[in-house]
């Protein structure tokens, strides 16, 4: 080996130029730890605020009271008493409301997203109705459908149908120009283009709409119970609030949130299953070079 043949090598002498990048402290802790810490801090402040007498216990119950009541309601639900019956009523309203919203929302979404008639004539009305305060329709639903479960299902469906319509329609519009041209060039019929291009391309948008709907459907059912009576959890909350039993209101809301959370979880799981190609989106994408 000849020394002359060696190309010049830089940096052979002197020290390495290793330096440290600034990293925020919070990103060094695992997520669950930071979440737990925040919760503990929140409950701590809550506890201090109530025990120091800054806030009246009628307005804000102490964390201890709330946790005790959570246990009470939980035992009630497990023993199958009136609370479980009420929870079941609300659950039924939520599920039926969601199913009705899904059927109507997807049908309207396809009408709006796929046909020019829907896009030009129907869509403006959907937007117009969407901007209305939808809860104001509750008395109408009660007048039409009575004080039973149906009027609550109707309100829940009415409130959650719009994100599904918008998500479906936006999804059907999501296929880009190139993809449409490709399908046109291979002579695909309208139905084939819908089934093999537009629907799969639009699934992410559709599921986004579905997620929003899965949360608002619970609000719809509860609002229906507030305004139209009934035997659900909304009624229990109303009664507890009228008795100034704030710990009960808090614990009922927390159990209700479990209902919304499970709806959301089911939809998210379905999205994970069906839109499998979006899972790796923030992961490895070897699209860079050849």
């Amino acid at each position: 080996m000849s020394d002359l043949a060696q190309p010049a090598v830089y940096g052979t002498e002197g020290e390495d130029t290793v330096w440290t990048e600034r990293v925020s402290l919070i990103s060094l802790i695992p997520r669950w730890v930071s979440m737990t810490l925040l919760l503990v801090a929140f409950i701590g402040i809550w506890h201090l605020a109530t025990s120091a007498g800054i806030v009246s216990p009628l307005i804000l119950p102490s964390p201890t009271e709330t946790i005790l009541d959570l246990g009470f309601v939980g035992r009630g639900l497990l023993s199958g008493n009136y609370m479980l019956a009420a929870f079941w009523v609300t659950t039924q309203e939520v599920i039926w409301g969601f199913v009705v919203a899904l059927v109507i929302g997807v049908s309207l979404g396809i009408l709006v997203g796929e046909t020019s008639f829907g896009e030009r004539a129907v869509m403006p009305y959907i937007v117009a109705i969407d901007t209305m305060p939808k809860l104001a329709f509750a008395p109408l639903f009660v007048a039409w459908l009575g004080f039973g479960i149906t009027s609550k299902v109707a309100l829940a469906a009415f409130i959650s149908v719009f994100p599904i319509v918008v998500g479906t329609a936006a999804g059907l519009h999501a296929a880009d120009e190139n993809a449409r041209m490709l399908f046109k060039s291979i002579g695909a019929s309208r139905l084939k283009t819908l089934l093999k291009l537009k629907i799969p391309t639009g699934l992410p948008q559709f599921f986004t709409g579905l997620k929003i709907a899965s949360i608002s459907v619970v609000s719809g059912a509860i609002a229906g119970e507030f305004l139209g009576g009934g035997q659900g959890f909304g009624e229990l909350i109303r009664v507890a609030a009228s008795q100034l039993n704030t710990p009960r209101v808090f614990s009922l809301i927390i159990y209700l949130s479990l209902l919304g959370l499970s709806m959301f979880a089911i939809v998210s799981w379905m999205q994970y299953k069906f839109v499998f190609w979006h899972r790796t989106d923030n992961g490895v994408r070897a699209r860079a070079g050849h």
Binding site: D176, N178, S185, I186, A188, A288
Partner: protein, 268 residues
């Protein structure tokens, strides 16, 4: 059967595949002239390019040839039949690979067959698709999803999808312009190899002069507003072309001729 006289005029020449006669395209009721009186003919086994600055109507021309959009005037004939819509004997390729992420590479390649003739036909075409994937060097990637393919690999899969229905003619709309230059050169040579192997007839839209010269038998130079073919240049370089030919003096002459034409067209 007596041969059709117009087609058989020069006996030695192969038959024309595409024949465009005075094709024009207007938008907004004639206010905007996208294409004016474009006539060209593409013979069996030839590789033609159309080159021009962006907005000169070359993509419109390709869409009209593919039957994706109708001409306002003029006649487009393919294999003796008028083009009145999308045709199964045309294979197309776009700037983006446009592979669908919910389909594996093989399923993407088989898409045109599946859409046109159903799942059973697609299943029957599997061996052909697999051999095409082997031809472009994607053997072993057939069950991989597009997110795991690089840009160049995705375009190779798109080549296979274009070829799987065994079209008579290939229409290429800047197929490699989204790739980096090193990959693009390589893919152009691959394209030439595939075209030569299959005796394919191809029509390429590009805005790269050297790409047009290295690949084509004939280059049509277009000017903008109104979009028309200002000159048709035959490239007389031996086949197969290599990247090294870019250093030949003839190559340089072709490039500068085309560049001069484009400069003139651009400032008219």
């Amino acid at each position: 059967m007596r041969p059709f006289p117009v087609i058989q005029t020069a006996g030695a020449l192969p038959r024309p595949v595409y024949e465009l006669t005075n094709v024009s395209k207007y938008y907004r009721g004639g206010g905007i002239v996208a294409l004016e009186q474009v006539s060209l003919s593409l013979r069996q086994g030839e590789f033609h390019s159309v080159i021009g600055s962006s907005g000169c109507g070359k993509s419109t021309l390709l869409k009209i040839m593919a039957g994706l959009t109708p001409p306002s005037k003029g006649r487009v004939m393919l294999s003796g039949k008028p083009v009145l819509g999308a045709r199964p004997d045309i294979g197309m390729m776009f700037q983006q690979a446009t592979l669908f992420p919910w389909r594996t590479t093989l399923q993407n390649v088989l898409l045109p067959i599946e859409v046109r003739d159903g799942k059973a036909a697609a299943e029957a075409a599997r061996p052909r698709a697999l051999s095409l994937l082997e031809l472009v060097g994607l053997k072993g990637f057939e069950s991989v999803y597009p997110s795991q393919l690089s840009g160049g690999m995705a375009q190779r899969a798109a080549i296979c999808r274009m070829l799987v229905s065994e079209p008579d003619v290939l229409l290429l709309d800047e197929p490699f312009s989204a790739l980096d230059e090193i990959t693009r050169d390589f893919m152009n040579m691959e394209l030439q190899r595939i075209c030569l192997e299959r005796g394919a007839t191809a029509f390429l839209v590009t805005h790269s002069i050297s790409e047009a010269v290295i690949l084509s038998d004939v280059v049509h130079v277009m000017s903008a507003r109104p979009g028309r073919v200002v000159q048709t240049i035959e490239i007389d370089l031996p086949r197969p072309r290599t990247l090294d030919m870019a250093t030949l003096p003839e190559f340089g002459r072709y490039v500068s001729t085309i560049r001069n034409l484009l400069d003139k067209g651009a400032f008219l």
